[in-house]
């Protein structure tokens, strides 16, 4: 069984993000990492690898620098690495098309991906790729287990845990799970260095980056948080309770 993990390289959650003339200043980002939800997808793929001997193919789409996220994936155990090299913007339709073509190219029947990327937060990649491939799709998954004829997936819902059974071929979009992510060790890092990365272009996949329905017009900083309010003395308790209930909605 081949399992594809779709990995996006995003600014590390600790990196400062600046905006110049309506777009994110990528050159100023000090550290790039694998998007956190994708890490859970990768971890699940690796447990399929150790549990049922699956071959794990890590796929990323992005500029040259994103090869690093494939090397990081190899350092924890990904078997094969495919980099669709593309610099600059890409609409979500073209992105989904490219990734689904990449999945077909590597011959994976199971696709694991984060539920959304930490930078764009759009959440459309998993379902979009599933639609193009005509695979089943389960979102907000926290755990999967291989069964005799497909998978059992656990999803956390606001009211509890739901278990669904899923037939191949399928796409799972991962939420943060209760699994511990494995960390790379020196042996993995040294082996990752030797693992070849197959690099292809959008054109190789027959994707031309046109005909988009959605494009980003501009990005902006979040609004400044309003200044906090101060209350003193026990007399203010009643007023604070009202505000906590009616303005902050926390009680």
């Amino acid at each position: 069984m081949k399992v594809a993990v779709l990995i996006k390289q995003v600014p590390d959650t600790t990196a400062k993000v600046g905006i110049t003339s309506g777009s994110v200043d990528e050159g100023a980002i000090s550290k790039w990492s694998i998007s956190p939800y994708d890490e859970y997808a990768l971890e699940s793929a690796l447990s399929l690898q150790s549990g049922s001997g699956a071959t794990v193919v890590a796929i990323t789409l992005g500029p040259e620098r994103s090869s690093k996220s494939l090397i990081d994936a190899a350092a924890v155990g990904a078997d094969e690495l495919l980099h669709v090299v593309h610099d600059g913007g890409l609409g979500s339709l073209s992105l989904q098309k490219a990734l689904s073509e990449a999945v077909t190219r590597v011959g994976a029947e199971v696709v694991l991906v984060g539920k959304q990327a930490a930078d764009t937060n759009s959440g459309s990649t998993g379902p979009g790729v599933a639609k193009m491939l005509n695979y089943s799709c389960v979102g907000l998954v926290s755990r999967i287990e291989a069964g005799s004829d497909g998978f059992e997936a656990t999803r956390s819902t606001p009211s509890g845990m739901e278990r669904v059974s899923v037939k191949l071929p399928c796409v799972f979009a991962f939420d943060k799970g209760d699994v511990e992510l494995r960390r790379p060790n020196v042996r993995g890092i040294m082996m990752a260095k030797k693992k070849p990365i197959e690099k292809i272009s959008l054109a190789d996949l027959g994707v031309d980056n046109t005909g988009e329905g959605v494009s980003t017009t501009s990005v902006d900083y979040p609004p400044e948080k309003p200044e906090g309010q101060r209350f003193e003395g026990a007399d203010a308790a009643a007023e604070v309770a009202v505000k906590l209930r009616e303005e902050a909605n926390v009680i």
């Binding site: 090397i71 350092a75 960390r183 060790n185 020196v186 042996r187």
Partner: protein
């Protein structure tokens, strides 16, 4: 706030990709598994066993050694590992230094084939812990006059004497013990449980509290013949180990200094006195600028020494200079950082006082600051000043 490693001259850009990946892996581990637990471990005076397991499974023990399950990395990579570990705590780095440079290295360099195969693979994974017994109660800077003795007795050796200040001693599965056999210093492997051997822990430390420090006591301790290290005689044995450990310390101290600088910088920017952040005052800026200057110089020293070590073009005096300088500036940076934190600097909410107290040990072990001055003095003048008269 997350840790921002000061690297003003971008010295880490000189590392290889793998060295940077190893750096990131160790740094992340320190963030997740050391920083949240270290203060409590210090309060209780324990080295957590999960640290041993994690460090072992990261595969960083005995970093520059090749073969027998060892990682086979560069000395520069070893330095980077020490730096990242010591950014967490000098006690964690001490564990790795002792295991790799002081216990694995002598087996790797001076051990028999059987000894290497027996011990090194388990030590590389952290399943077997080693310690290094050189210092004695009455012989610290002057180990050449040690009194611990080995005598040949039938099919084995009998050891008598005591070692003191031995890192990892109580938790160790094996000890590399330096003792005199017919007046000549030799290395012996003593295993936990050997008759006549005990390793009581030393308590009451104000420094390196998360590291185990012990006495090693040998009372007619009998060990088999095949436990002597065949490959070395005299002080060259322990000193070759110390060269490697000292090299790691010259990097490690930079990690402590970076942690203290990072804390001082963010504290100075957020602490308001006389209506302004204290970072806005020239006196405080001067302190921060001085830290930046010394850390940057120390990083260049460590990096260049790493390259020399990797190329095999080094002399022990090169290592003395870097160990002495980098520990010295790290300790002073910890003190200045403590000062910038005001009263908060003495709390365990901030790492600075812990690093400061740790670095007092680091200044003393692996050759005291002044012993390194004397080593350099002898190198410059050709006159030894360790002892007076003939």
């Amino acid at each position: 706030m997350g840790y921002e490693a000061l690297d003003f001259y971008d010295v880490d850009s000189l590392l290889t990709d793998e060295e940077r990946m190893i750096r990131d892996a160790v740094r992340d581990w320190v963030d997740e598994s050391v920083i949240p637990k270290i203060e409590n471990a210090c309060r209780e005076g324990v080295f957590l066993d999960e640290w041993r397991q994690d460090i072992g499974s990261m595969g960083i023990l005995g970093a520059p050694l090749k073969g027998y399950g060892c990682p086979g990395l560069s000395y520069t990579a070893y330095g980077v590992i020490c730096r990242e570990l010591e950014r967490g705590d000098s006690g964690i780095r001490s564990f790795a230094s002792v295991q790799g440079s002081l216990a694995m290295y002598p087996i790797w360099d001076f051990g028999s084939e059987e000894q290497k195969e027996k011990y090194l693979p388990g030590m590389a994974t952290g399943e077997l812990i080693g310690c290094f017994g050189l210092t004695e109660p009455d012989y610290g800077s002057n180990p050449g006059d040690m009194v611990t003795k080995a005598t040949e007795d039938g099919d084995g050796f009998v050891l008598n004497g005591a070692k003191m200040w031995i890192t990892n001693g109580t938790i160790a599965d094996l000890a590399i013990v330096w003792a005199k056999l017919d007046g000549v210093i030799r290395g012996f492997i003593v295993e936990k449980g050997d008759p006549g051997f005990s390793a009581p822990e030393m308590k009451g430390k104000h420094s390196l509290k998360a590291s185990v420090t012990s006495e090693l006591v040998f009372q007619d301790c009998r060990i088999p013949k095949d436990r002597i290290l065949p490959g070395v005689k005299g002080l060259r044995g322990p000193f070759s180990c110390l060269n490697n450990a000292r090299f790691g310390i010259s990097w490690g101290a930079i990690g402590s200094a970076q942690a203290c600088y990072d804390s001082a910088k963010s504290y100075a920017l957020s602490r308001i006195q006389f209506d302004h952040p204290i970072a806005a005052y020239q006196l405080v800026q001067n302190k921060l600028a001085w830290m930046l200057r010394e850390i940057t110089k120390g990083q260049l020293l460590a990096y260049h020494l790493g390259k020399k070590k990797d190329a095999g073009e080094w002399i022990p005096e090169h290592i003395s200079l870097a160990k002495m300088n980098n520990v010295d500036i790290a300790l002073e940076i910890a003190r200045v950082s403590r000062d910038i934190h005001g009263a908060n600097g003495i709390l365990d909410e901030y790492p600075v006082m812990r690093h400061m107290a740790n670095l007092e040990s680091v200044k003393t072990y692996e050759g005291t600051h002044d012993i390194h001055n004397l080593i350099l003095g002898r190198h410059i003048t050709g006159i030894q000043a360790f002892t007076k008269g003939a």
